[in-house]
């Protein structure tokens, strides 16, 4: 048998390499293109209504004029509230799974349930939140009910990212600490958590983005169609950006007139999410420089 010409083989290999490279590159860049076109679309449509007034004043004249301040504030409350609810629980659950029951059935059960929780549609969370927090516990339509509902929604994200963060801590850190006579809890608190901290922040980044954009879970638990005043306490209703956007786009008093307001709201929502992501990223970099290995 004659061996094929080596030059030819070489050429064929190069051509295939180039084709693969072009296809993969195109796909990669088209994702960037999609994101940019969404952003451009929202910016172009929404920028005209953005003004200091728009950000700081109340909606007026059936939401066709005025601003979206109560919705911005409401979203801020909900993000903060849900993180206060979910962060401690999520981190503790992850610590239990990763540090205390490394194998075993308990871990399997918790892990499976966490995954299932992540798969529950967000409207179901809304319904559950309404049944439990709004009605059963008597919070009514309120920031606290909304925060708990959103907290449940982001719990799996926080558990999973925290668990990954803990897993990435080299075992010799644990062994060194235990070797000095420290207990498991002392080891976790003083050594493992500080090292894992920058990565745990990632969980927070992801959940902030998720919480500020979710509509279904707040629909029945906190969101007000229109509130002519700011919330007085955590037991008060609040407006929120995604729901306000929904209202403006579908059920305002004059949809065509409030359309620009809707795009403006969308722009604000996107910018807030983008900004928190950048901020949290900066935080993560800052902390990981502090515990560099």
């Amino acid at each position: 048998m004659k061996l094929p010409d080596e030059n030819k083989l070489e050429k064929l290999k190069k051509r295939r390499q180039r084709i693969a490279f072009i296809i993969l590159g195109t796909i990669g860049y088209s994702i960037v293109a999609i994101l940019i076109s969404i952003l451009t679309f929202i910016i172009v449509k929404g920028i005209s209504v953005i003004s200091w007034d728009f950000l700081t004043s109340m909606p007026e004249e059936g939401m066709t004029k005025g601003g979206i301040f109560p919705a911005i504030l409401g979203s801020f409350y909900l993000v903060t509230g849900s993180i206060i609810v979910a962060f401690p629980i999520g981190i503790m659950a992850a610590i239990y799974m990763n540090e205390y029951v490394k194998h075993g059935t308990a871990k399997k059960i918790i892990k499976q349930m966490t995954n299932n929780l992540a798969g529950v549609p967000s409207i179901v969370f809304g319904l559950f939140g309404m049944a439990l927090f709004v009605n059963k516990l008597g919070f009514g339509d309120s920031i606290i009910a909304g925060s708990f509902t959103l907290g449940l929604l982001i719990l799996p994200i926080i558990i999973r990212t925290t668990e990954e963060a803990l897993k990435s801590v080299d075992d010799t850190f644990r062994q060194a600490s235990i070797g000095l006579g420290a207990s498991k809890w002392q080891t976790t608190k003083n050594v493992v958590l500080p090292i894992a901290f920058p990565k745990i922040i990632t969980g927070m980044i992801l959940s902030i983005g998720r919480v500020s954009g979710e509509t279904a879970p707040i629909l029945f638990t906190v969101a007000a169609y229109f509130l002519p005043r700011l919330p007085h306490s955590i037991f008060d209703q609040a407006m929120a950006l995604p729901y306000h956007l929904y209202v403006l786009a579908t059920s305002g008093t004059n949809i065509s007139e409030s359309r620009p307001m809707a795009y403006g709201t969308a722009l604000v929502l996107v910018v807030i999410v983008l900004f928190t992501n950048l901020l949290a990223n900066a935080l993560r970099k800052y902390f990981s420089n502090k515990v560099k290995m």
Binding site: T172, A176, S177, G179, L180, A182, V291
Partner: protein, 250 residues
Amino acid sequence: MIKLETINANVYYGASHALKNISMQLESNTVTALIGPSGCGKSTYLRLFNRMNDLIENIRIEGEILIDGKNIYQKGTNVDSLRKSTGMIFQKPNPFPKSIFENVAYGLRVNGINDAAFIQERVETSIQQVALWDEVKDKLKKSAFELSGGQQQRLCIARALAIQPSIILMDEPTSALDPISTSKIEELMYELKAKYTIVIVTHNMQQAARVSDKTAFFYLGELIEYSQTKELFTNPKIEKTQNYITGRFG
């Protein structure tokens, strides 16, 4: 004097038999080197003495493991205080995400010692013992991660010394370090053996020959040969040892 001893020690990881019937006596105030190819069981053997193996799932340990003549796997042994009597040094320097001072103070603090003057004194002495004092005395509050790899490793040794152990277990302590840092650690071992019993696992045979008084050669979970270091390297009794130290396999 015999400090450490194992009698018919067997270790199983699930179905695999990692250490087979190891009976060996280690003398106090000496450096004993454990050598052998990867997976030969030398690290597992080292970790018998501070019960670090206990952290591994599905492990089974048989036989007697004695420190100062006492079986440390007996029921009722206080594992925390056992671990305090042994300091462990790892392959990669692993200072905690704390200041230089707090790294060394850590072992004291987690054991409930709060006396600031005592802690200060122990930290200072321990850092001096590893010949790091002059390099760090002006930046004790700085993060330990700011030190070089070699300095970090010496800090880890100081951290282990702070709780006043009598045994130091070293698991390839210099394999991540440059030659200069390595020789500093080796000098240190020479000085430390006056007060401590040192067991070192090493892949580097020159190192074993340089630092140790006695050497044990492990192969596939068995102790093949154990004798004075000079003897083992110049006149090994067993062919396998001969082959390993001359680099014919490993």
